[in-house]
Amino acid sequence: MTVIDATAAWLTDPANWTGPNGIPVRLAEHLGVSLVSLLIALAIALPAGLYVGHTRRGSGIAVGIANVGRAVPSIALIGLVLPITQAFDPARGFSLYPSVLAMVALAVPPILVNAFAGIRGVDAEVVGAARGMGLTELQILRRIEVPLALPVVLGGIRSAAVQVIATTTLGAIFALGGLGRYVVDGLAQNDDGMLFGGVVLVATLAMTAEGLLAGLQRLAARATTGSGRRPRSRASLARPIAAP
């Protein structure tokens, strides 16, 4: 029971909720890095995925990028770019830049793959009919394909967001702030209260993000397709997931 007591004591200690090492600051850092990474990944992967899905050009390249991106472990990627970014900026090059880069690389594959698979999955007859009615290609994409593919596209963004929020924790190994700090420091200082407090915070954040985004996805799906049912295809059951 001592571990539970220590954790409860750490979590309820007002001193841990204020100051530069306080929980609100660490939470803000964590969410900040996650959000920036996710936005960069969206800016790259969403247009690319929609383009590939609509034109069906370059799908081989997209699949290749997604497969390699999924296979490369985040921590190895951080290690790979760290010496280079550190040479440019000794402070942020050690922690912030490598982490953001690794999180972008983590978020791109699910967004890219779902965007292009979603658009490609739109019934060809519907697209043909729209073209027959004289819609331009951009109009077809915006008014027909994106709304129909929205649940799948959002599914990719959701899975990217959850993975990034969970994995930003790794940055703590390389002196990044965020909630991972408590886990790494707690382990290094043999402080079980801080360690488990960090574990609780990190796990709660990841699960909350998963729950919130799942709810959002369901709402969006209901708004566009008239049913809140998550598509339960064989593919969605067998979805490969990147490393937590």
Binding site: V3, V63, A66, N67, V68, R70, A71, V72, P73, I75, A76, L77, I78, G79, L80, L82, P83, Q86, P110, V113, N114, A117, G118, V152, G155, G156, S159, V162, A166, T169, L170, A172, I173, F174, G180, V183, V184, G186, L187, D192, L195, F196, G198, V199, V202, A203, A206, M207, E210, R234, A235, S236, L237, A238, R239, P240, I241, A242, A243, P244
Partner: protein
């Protein structure tokens, strides 16, 4: 930028860590597959077990790996189990999902035909359903193997006795020594990519009837 002398001096250490990396990953995937198959067979017979199993596995999967590794130290102390328990738990999400999806993918006609040929429940499962589930199970093993190779590096958090090649990434970062970080990061990436390619081959070899490899990427 690269200290070749250090690399030359550390060839035995690199080989040892590569071996440790593969060993930790292989045990996790093998144990994870065994558990997933057992749970999958159970779930194939009792469908209502699927949602709770999936829920628990998904819940575990959302816990970031460094949190789970660190938590295990306090719970079970430091042993090979501290590294293996989280690794196995993470493989279960992927493998259990795919085992269940594999059994689901067996066409009902085939099941009926097997029943009509008076296969018993177990014989039908082992001789008819399991072979037909192999493509999706193999796809799961591929993802699980690649993801586990990445996760093994993080077990370096537990101390010098763990982590496989991740040991060099952690120690290199601590000492600010680029060569050592590379010595861990590059082989880890190569191992993950090699495992990915290897299992694509295994999958193709196990399912010669699927000439065109089933879509290599599945939307999440």
């Amino acid at each position: 930028m690269i200290d070749w002398g250090w690399l030359a001096d550390h060839v035995p250490a690199l080989l040892y860590r590569t071996g440790q990396h593969l060993y930790l990953a292989a045990i996790a995937v093998a144990v994870g597959l065994a558990i997933s198959l057992a749970l999958g067979v159970l779930a194939a017979r009792h469908r209502r077990l699927v949602p709770p199993f999936t829920f628990v596995a998904d819940l575990v999967y959302t816990i970031p790996s460094i949190a789970l590794f660190a938590a295990l130290v306090v719970v079970v102390g430091l042993s090979v189990l501290t590294a293996e328990v989280p690794l196995v738990l993470y493989t279960l999400v992927i493998l259990f999902r795919n085992v269940v999806a594999g059994f689901d993918a067996v066409p009902p006609d085939v099941r009926d035909a097997a029943d009509a040929m008076s296969y018993s429940g177990t014989a039908r499962l082992v001789r008819v359903e399991l072979p037909l589930a192999v493509p999706l199970i193999a796809a799961g093993v591929r993802v699980a193997a690649v993801s586990t190779i990445g996760l093994v590096t993080i077990s370096a958090l537990l101390g010098d006795a763990f982590g496989g090649l991740g040991f060099f990434i952690f120690e290199g970062a601590r000492r600010g020594f680029a060569t050592e970080i590379y010595a861990g990061a590059i082989p880890t990436i190569l191992l993950a990519l090699a495992a990915d390619r290897l299992f694509v081959r295994v999958q193709a070899w196990l399912t010669p009837w699927e000439r065109r490899a089933q879509a290599e990427v599945v939307p999440g």
